[in-house]
Symmetry: C2
Subunit: 283 residues, 2 copies
């Protein structure tokens, strides 16, 4: 393993394997060619052409969302999509624009729609240097079960903003109270583009740092994290370098933390690989 | 103006306008097509093909450097290259590898060789928030005269490492003593790829943050900076958003500083443009 392996794994997207999903004049997703082909039998919703798929369902956000959701139901019965049923993401050409429709979270990578999340580095300054509160994902998580995770992480569901999602997830995942989470500092975003078994994960993670007081110990409330460990930040980075113990994109978030806090020396042979590998420009 | 304008200006590279410069089996530069054509009359040094230029001069680093330098002299007489004559850069396929030859700094963009530099954000924490020590470039600078600049910035010349360049430039440009500069924290690198009047600027800036004590005032010693002002960091960012007062790539370094220190709110419509625009992946 190396830092580069984790960066490559999150950026294994290959333009030749996908076609754009177009809504109006704007691209809203990347469909793997097999996924595009699977949409051909829903011509009232999607027009499948050789090099693009056009959303043709008409109407307001609710109407388009309902039409797409019927397709998602069919894809679920074909085992192409693991439907979550409890969470939808807004589909927008870019962040901050009005949503065109809502999509079940499980279907987001099938359509290669950009997925936004928040990620919090909860850390402590101890005599021995920076320490990170690292969570372990529950064994029944659909994505990356049992893997090590950040202090708080979560997708930004339909209707939630960035800060509201952070506060909600911080409460549910780590019992961080509002009085503490409001001190979290936004420090950028990780961007990556990855093919997985379902389709394309176009990931954006809004990253926050939060210095936690010595007496605070995170406690999970929603069953998604089974335990938290306080680990020296340098040990986290060495473990990332040599293992696959962390969830794929959490490796990138911790590498960004390490870089920003001066924990990777410029002499590291992978310094520029890391510095140039965590913020893929949008196409 | 907008943040995006500065990011676009530094990333206006167009693959269709260049051909690779190959040494052995490795790419070491990007030659604009007119620059490639200008090399055709030096067949003992460069083999110019339609879609690539091969370095064919043979011998050790000194021999290849001398052969290339003869070409550079000819390009200087044709006004294609502004030769510096006092500084050479190492040409390597990637950072940390053995240099293949040395190149006059003025010729680096002609060949589109990657150029490495250091950049220091010297800042103070005052009651009113973070303040930055901003320099103003001398009117006789070849690149970006009179523009606002960082506290310390400089190219990494042949034979110097990153930390040694930082210490040398900090002393020459801002009279920052060794005892202070050793506290500078490496916080990543800015990467961009830009066409300019000479050719292609493939820029890598190793970025450092240094908290300066209240009593320290930077003083220039080498004539490259005419004055320093202590500016509120938020004012620097608003001035970047609305003007072209800063050197092109210094805009990117300060945007990175602002992002890392939580000075750009996530609600800013350009938040993700900035977060995904400062670290162009290497090809």
């Amino acid at each position: 393993m190396s830092f580069a392996d984790h960066i490559r794994a999150c950026n294994n997207y290959d333009r030749a394997r996908v076609v754009p999903l177009i809504a109006g004049e704007r691209r809203v997703g990347w469909l793997r060619r097999d996924n595009a082909a699977a949409l051909a039998r829903f011509p009232a919703v999607f027009a499948v052409e050789p090099e693009r798929v056009q959303l043709v369902a008409r109407g307001d956000v609710d109407a388009v969302s309902a039409a797409v959701d019927d397709v998602v139901e069919a894809l679920v019965t074909e085992n192409r999509v693991p439907k979550w049923r409890n969470e939808t993401f807004d589909v927008m050409p870019s962040w901050g624009e009005a949503p065109l429709f809502r999509l079940d979270r499980g279907a987001v990578p099938f359509f290669g729609v950009r997925a936004y999340g928040v990620d919090l580095n909860g850390y402590r300054r101890d005599r021995g240097g920076l320490h990170l509160w690292v969570g372990r994902r529950a064994p029944d998580k659909r994505v990356a079960p049992n893997k090590l995770d950040n202090t708080v992480a979560g997708g930004i569901g339909n209707g939630y903003g960035v800060a509201a999602t952070l506060a909600k997830e911080a409460d549910e995942e780590a019992a961080i109270p509002a009085s503490l989470i409001e001190r979290a500092v936004p420090v950028g975003a990780i961007t990556y583009l990855m093919e997985n078994d379902i389709g394309i994960r176009d990931g954006v993670l809004f990253v926050y740092d939060l210095e936690l007081p010595a007496e605070f110990v995170p406690t999970n409330r929603d069953g998604e994290i089974v335990d938290f460990q306080l680990m020296p930040a340098l040990s986290v980075i060495e473990r990332i370098r040599s293992t696959d113990d962390f969830k794929f994109d959490v490796n990138l978030v911790y590498l960004d933390f390490a870089l920003r806090h001066g924990l990777i020396p410029v002499e590291d042979p992978e310094y520029l690989t890391v510095a140039s590998g965590l913020h893929r420009p949008f196409d």
